[in-house]
Point group: D2
Chain length 296, copies 4
């Protein structure tokens, strides 16, 4: 009776009645920053994983599904990709994807938790893949809220890679009308604001729908899109907002032309994938069409 | 310190290092038929679930995602929907979806495990929703392989809702060139053969790709499509095969016209959803383009 | 990669940070009576198990350790074993052990949950082993508290096989000075009151110590004893109280003479086992010697 | 719905159908030496724990139950406690207990895994509590088998704190007649050989019984004893062997006189505890009396 070799497990709680157990091959780091608990570990299925406050943030084997979805539809849609702003994005993979576009002159990334950024540089260098050393990268360790109040720059795209605006989350103050107006003021003409926007599974799409409802009061075009991210065990949603362009309706040839300009090869995203992730199933369209409350 | 109320759990093994734990609200049945182990239970997230040999087969809250995907792209594509054949499909939900089309004159369902069919009628009546009592339904409890050899009928669509052709599975003998030829011989002109076709996640798409490679030797058009099914914790794939029609390229208006003819409302599928599930991400297209072995 | 055959598990919560997982071979019953949730199941290690409100009550393979400990030290100690009273004891195994002594003329068992008694008769007949049909058995389905107020009988031993007097438990009202006086009034001269008395592990012996402190105000001799019960994953304690006899100091030859009179063979208990379970380790003696609060 | 803070768990496998899950408060170390995998962690219930090859070796909160049982019955029984030999014992707690007796002139400890010894010194200093720095301690990192062949010393007690002689274990070669003879040759007149000797629970006492049968061919007195060790979730057994003294029958006053000479206070062991752990329940005595195979 050979015993399993794995006696350390990472257990993610989805609900008090739903847990997923991942055997840990190696635990690189476990600790607590000023803002959150952090674990960096490796599992057989997903490779390295970053876990913040008990939630999987990204995994080595499928992070490109998430990060290409977050970055490229927005960048494909904007006219001027010279200046890009990222809110959050500690792992550096959002920055990496932005900098793959040669025409980006500067990408500013504002993350409140410098310790997480340092841990990711040390243990997850595959995520940033040198992006932090790119001379076009500007890393600001600080509060995105304060940055938005003080900054005078404008950006072709503002990419929000923050955690969810749950009532007890540090991201909660970043999700209200005042902040949306602050972000809108930072967009260059033709600019796009894109954000990760919670889950879109049949059983947990209410928060996403509320986020979409809230943003429709501030932007002309508000397009939900989503993809399954295996490491999240969830359909993960995003929202692309703009007064100038409907990202959902981008022309496929324009998308593929943009993708061709990127350094290196995409893993997930191109025009066909765009069509997939912006085509929503009936149940989600119905949910998004319902009236309801909003972040104000 | 209040204890959790749940002390019975359904634990699904995805790998010896990956387990998902679902608290059980109620266990309706657990036993073994001549062919497999069966459990019918209810969990807070997914409602009732059918579990065969330890694998989730379908859940009350999201089975329509699976069954609408399996049935409607194929039916929307075929010319003559009068006679339909289902291989497997014990829960009766595939039958239910087929019979929602008024023009179906008869739907034959061949399932080897009559005990599972009876258990589903008793404990999961929401799945079949009266379909077994529909006079157009013809249920044959028997071996699909023998049925295909003996049957002389032709069908607008043959829908395979069998378990996966793993080496030790009862479905293994149903996946080879001889059987593909037998199925093709049962298709009416313009007919479509559609099958559930394993997982399409980044880490487990090899079997699906092998199935697609195998079928390309037998059919002119072989279209993979997939959707995330939350209760499966996986991206679930299907393949639509035909000599007459490329199901992936169906016209959206034709799809919506077909959907409008169905009795009752769809939950998941229409033209936009069709576009979603047939648009494949880059990594899967690359996998499908690779050479490799096939079922012969 | 063969998967485990077991996908149903019984998970016992010892603390929010301690869980024991038992694979279920068969689930015979799961439901709820007027008083508590009940499950009857079978596991590879312990055989059949009775689970009330998520706590293991007894297992087929080691219930004799518990029931022989509860019954025989007390019965060995009393002068007149003609009339015995059991409070609780739904499985019928305490009754079984009492009736193994031929000199018992009548054993009265008062249990509030008749449904549990019926379930045990049906699914766990090995526990009672015919005891409920013994003409000397008198089963009263009712409230032990009311019985003690109304009953006029006296008993050589009163055996309390109730659940723990936790604040939210139905057993809580059964643990106070008034009840101790009621029980004492039911003891024949030379009688013994014995009760299961919570856990005695290094990390959870406080409730047991409080029970012992409480009883010292009412009885001349109050003897703690305990044994590890594997199915409980705990050192399980009992208390034997008497004004006439110090059960801890019973003569070994008298014990073995009593054991020899029992019908059938003991599994666990005799004079040497008595010496074991009444000899307490240093840390528990120190805990029992500390002052502290009591049930009044 | 607050989520649990604990997402790292230590899962101990007792059988493929029995797992115990402990939430990890902190993981101090996880790695692999030349001989075994090692983890040092802390849980809410047990404090720090040492885990070798997935098995709990000892826990901060109850290691004294194990180590006082291993050391003091033997030392209480021997005439000359000047020279003591420990085989294994990496944590240093066995050494600590031996050196608490002031009359010990030298204690030699032979452990094959110097890396484990170093990890214990660093992360578990509470276990050795300075013992490695005691001038009477002699640590030899090396193979106990070779040591026994080459050493010419004699010892009042030889204490074996090795892992179990399972077929695939590094301890297997240390459990046969030749080794027993080598150990016996190292005992001073009146000496005692004591060893940890596997589990004594009702469901897993076969290996212990085989060890006892094997030793009876080599020693006049072979006394089994055991105690529940909560962190092991098992009744843990030991065997004390001697040609001169029956350790089971030690006089209680002699034991307490010995205990009084120890530096500091015992937590678990004294004459009453000795009576407890050497008094065996019926089922274990019956198992020990059965004939069967032996290590030869």
């Amino acid at each position: 009776m050979p015993k399993t070799e794995h006696f350390q497990w990472y257990v993610e709680e989805f609900a008090p009645t739903e847990f997923h157990h991942h055997a840990i091959d190696e635990l690189y780091y476990a600790g607590r920053t000023a803002f959150q608990s952090v674990a960096v570990l490796r599992t057989p299925t997903f490779g390295k994983m970053l876990v913040l406050d008990g939630d999987t943030q990204s995994s080595q084997h499928d992070e490109k599904i998430y990060h290409e979805s977050l970055v490229h539809p927005a960048l494909a849609a904007v006219r001027d990709r010279g200046e890009i702003l990222i809110l959050g994005g500690g792992e550096g993979a959002t920055l990496r994807e932005v900098l793959r576009y040669p025409g980006v002159r500067r990408c500013t990334m504002v993350d409140i938790d410098g310790e997480v950024v340092d841990l990711c540089k040390r243990y997850l260098p595959e995520w940033s893949d040198g992006a932090f050393e790119d001379p076009r990268a500007r890393l600001i360790v600080g509060d995105a809220l304060a940055f938005l109040k003080e900054d005078r720059g404008t950006y072709g795209a503002v990419i929000s890679d923050l955690t969810e605006p749950l009532a007890d989350s540090p991201s909660f103050p970043l999700f209200n009308g005042e902040v949306f107006r602050d972000i809108r003021a930072r967009l260059a003409p033709g600019g796009v604001y894109v954000l990760q926007a919670s889950t879109a599974g049949f059983h947990n799409m209410a928060l996403h729908a509320k986020m979409a409802r809230s943003l429709r009061a501030h932007f002309t075009h508000v397009a939900s899109f989503f993809t399954h991210v295996p490491a999240f065990d969830n359909d993960w949603a995003f929202i692309a907002c703009s007064d100038a362009v409907d990202v959902a309706a981008l022309d496929g040839r324009a998308i593929d032309a943009y993708v061709d300009e990127l350094r290196g090869e995409n893993y997930f995203y191109d025009a066909q994938t765009h069509r997939r992730i912006f085509s929503l199933p009936l149940y989600l369209r119905r949910e998004l069409a319902k009236p309801g409350d909003a972040f104000v």
